[in-house]
């Protein structure tokens, strides 16, 4: 039980938020990727967070990525018979990704990451001031 635990908690949380951001980046990058069949189309991914208890009493908990889930939404069928990957009916299948909602998620993830950085900075200041107790 020490204030250094706040470093560990915030550190693990930063890892989780970084993973969330890379998942969102992956979704954004593949928003236009098409495939010949709905099964082969890219499925949007989303991270699911889980609290990790740091002590038996449950008074402190960090966070980690429990699972990266794939979207169960159907792929969008786009009529484009000239596309090299078009199937025999002329359709290509794109993932059902909304760039606007992915961007909102990205902004939320980066705000959380920044908050964790501020927590670490403040904790570092407190530790410095603790080291100075009693010094003239």
């Amino acid at each position: 039980m020490s204030t250094f635990d706040a470093f560990r908690i915030a550190g693990k949380a930063m890892q989780a938020q970084a993973q969330r951001m890379s998942t969102i980046a992956s979704n954004m990058a593949n928003a236009e990727t098409v495939a010949s069949t709905p099964e082969q189309a890219y499925k949007a991914k989303q991270v699911v967070f889980e609290a990790v208890l740091q002590d038996a009493k449950g008074s402190s908990a960090s966070v980690r990525v429990k699972d990266v889930q794939e979207s169960k939404a159907d792929a969008k069928a786009i009529y484009n018979p000239d596309h090299p990957l078009a199937d025999d009916k002329g359709y290509v299948y794109a993932p059902d990704i909304n760039p606007a909602s992915e961007m909102v998620d990205m902004i939320s993830a980066s705000r959380s990451y920044q908050t964790n950085t501020e927590i670490m900075n403040t904790t570092k200041k407190l530790m410095s001031s603790t080291l100075n107790i009693g010094q003239q």
Binding site: M1, K12, F49, V63, S112, N116, I119, T122, L126
Partner: protein
């Protein structure tokens, strides 16, 4: 316990409790996106009261058989049983049952940081007073 230790003990306990509360608030902040997470906070006044008056200290376990090993209270982290936590009720409901209110947690974090610094300054002040007395 000698007189100087007796004088310094409440300051040390206050610092330890402030650090523990900092951990709890940090846990709330990092779990702001975790589904189902229940925000907690330490009731500092009650906890500090318990610690100052020695209430709720762990006691030696009763043994009903000579072969049983009794609980050893000196080895148990006594501050843990004296800590009082409350689960926070959310201002607004949320779809994923997460009860963390980030604005409240940010305020609590800033307040606890300030009080930690105040406790460490108080300790320094008491050491400075002792030093001044020694130099008379």
């Amino acid at each position: 316990m000698d007189k100087i230790q007796q004088l310094m003990q409440p300051y040390g306990q206050a610092l330890k409790l402030r650090a523990k509360r900092q951990e709890t608030i940090t846990s709330n902040i990092v779990n702001a996106d975790t589904p189902g997470y229940q925000a907690k906070d330490m009731d500092f006044a009650k906890t500090f009261q318990n610690v100052l008056t020695g209430k709720n200290k762990p006691v030696a376990g009763m043994v009903t058989n000579k072969g049983h090993i009794p609980l050893q209270p000196e080895k148990v982290n006594s501050l843990r049983s004296q800590q009082v936590y409350e689960t926070l009720r959310p201002e607004q409901g949320s779809l994923d049952n997460n009860t963390v209110d980030l604005d409240r947690e940010r305020g609590a974090f800033a307040e606890n940081t300030l009080k930690y610094e105040a406790a460490s300054k108080a300790m320094s002040g008491s050491i400075a007073a002792m030093r001044a007395a020694l130099q008379q």
